[in-house]
Symmetry: D2
Subunit: 160 residues, 4 copies
């Protein structure tokens, strides 16, 4: 089974977030991780783009049922046709979630990931008030490289 990491964030985003998500995608692919996203534009496109630039495998879990809605860097397109109900799939199918920026859809995915004990790493994304979260909250980093270090630690730990 391939190790899959999910990258989440806005379908439209600031250039800075796009650049960071692209770098995240590239680093993940270089380490051999498949990159799963919600399949649309913005951060999702950027992560897929970076991954493809490093010959990685990219998986788009689309809210709609039309493959053309996927960003052009998606290699495997999963058509759910179930709108935001697909967020739970994005949030839980990876060994970890990396959130880059993001708005309310991203927040729903962070919450669902943490609920299912999937580690969440945040790059300029949401943080949750500590007193409301049992266990781990969002692990905050400020560079794609630091996000990668955390991912590697998570995967190594899980393989013990």
């Amino acid at each position: 089974m391939r190790n899959v990491i999910a990258v989440i964030g806005g379908g439209s985003c600031a250039p800075e977030d796009y650049a960071r998500a692209r770098e995240v995608g590239r680093l993940l692919a270089e380490q051999g991780y498949a990159v799963l996203t919600g399949g649309l534009g913005g951060v999702m496109e950027a992560a897929h783009r970076g991954a493809r630039e490093a010959d990685g495998l990219t998986i788009a879990v689309l809210p709609g049922s039309v493959a053309k809605e996927a960003n052009p860097y998606a290699e495997i397109v999963i058509l759910t046709g179930m709108g935001d109900a697909r967020n739970v799939i994005v949030a839980t199918s990876g060994r970890a979630v990396i959130a880059v920026g993001g708005s309310l859809g991203t927040l729903s995915e962070i919450a669902l990931a943490l609920k299912h004990n999937v580690p969440v790493i945040g790059l300029g994304s949401w943080t949750l008030p500590e007193h409301r979260v049992t266990g781990h909250g969002v692990m905050v980093v400020d560079t794609p490289e630091k996000a990668m270090h955390l991912v590697d630690g998570i995967i190594t730990q899980g393989s013990d």
Copy 2:
């Protein structure tokens, strides 16, 4: 069509939240609203219990596919069998959402409701940092009565 209000919160909860959710359910039913929840225990049960005490209609949108998992105050039981993917149904099927306390599942529902422009009223629940939310965030109140005032305003406004 009946006006439906969703009440969300933890499947287990502190006695204080239980009491508040029960009062919320009672007030909603007295005003003629049907009370929709995720159908389990804790805040969900309390809201249904209060609503039934005022002869209200209660709707449980269960994550599982076994009716017996619904709390005993649920009148209409919807079996989704889709786990947390049902959160989007709970979050968007009401004219408003009232959140009482709650943990990560509740947070996912708050995020999804706001994304779909469903007003969210919070009683001791999550708040979202203003700089990350476009439009309305969680409307914070400290009593069930104040929650009801907001609900009435939302329904009246929507009927114009």
Copy 3:
């Protein structure tokens, strides 16, 4: 908990199917059953219309996320926003399913209901070849009254 019966069939249908579904809805409501459908037009509307004419409770489990898409006889509107993934909810939330006519969507619901051991009664609907079905297939009847007899038997049996 209220006894809920699902009625399934085409979103557009022949006048004969409309008339039969309306009669089914009326008979169900007269016996105190709540009538759950996929919430759209055709057979779904007819069943809700008949149920409302007998003061019954009607529940629409819509594929979309806009309440106005529900037929005008729907009292409780559940917004799933998940397209045909909602078929599993319609197929499994009732104590029995009555299929009136219907095309491919209806067939998917019949299959899902039978898979979950929900009895299916067919009025001019699909039948399944016996050699492919373990256990019960579609119980074929030719009048709404006969469908009602089967429903009453199912509910009585289930309450033993």
Copy 4:
């Protein structure tokens, strides 16, 4: 974007169906298609096994939320946690569906695929009575090779 073909059928199956599904998987992989299934045993496992034997890419869209439930030949595991609601994903994410044997879950997927205009090829699987299906029904073949010919025709046609 990679061409994905879905293979559907029972989670447990007769040795004959297992052998045919494995051959289908192998042929699909040899032609460069990724093989998507519901991720469990039986026909799903066989199709993934055959595909892996030809170095193909295999995708499991699981009903549950635990990766270990996937068959050992699944390379990419998608955790839906939504039970049979995931059938719509399996039915619609491929350019075509190949059904090998199968019971009620398979029938629901055939119906959903045809509803969404995804061509369905059947190997000892369900057939639908012609008078109830508008447009194409299940294309019946008796060998994996003939199924492959149809798949190639569908993909070529779709690329015009």
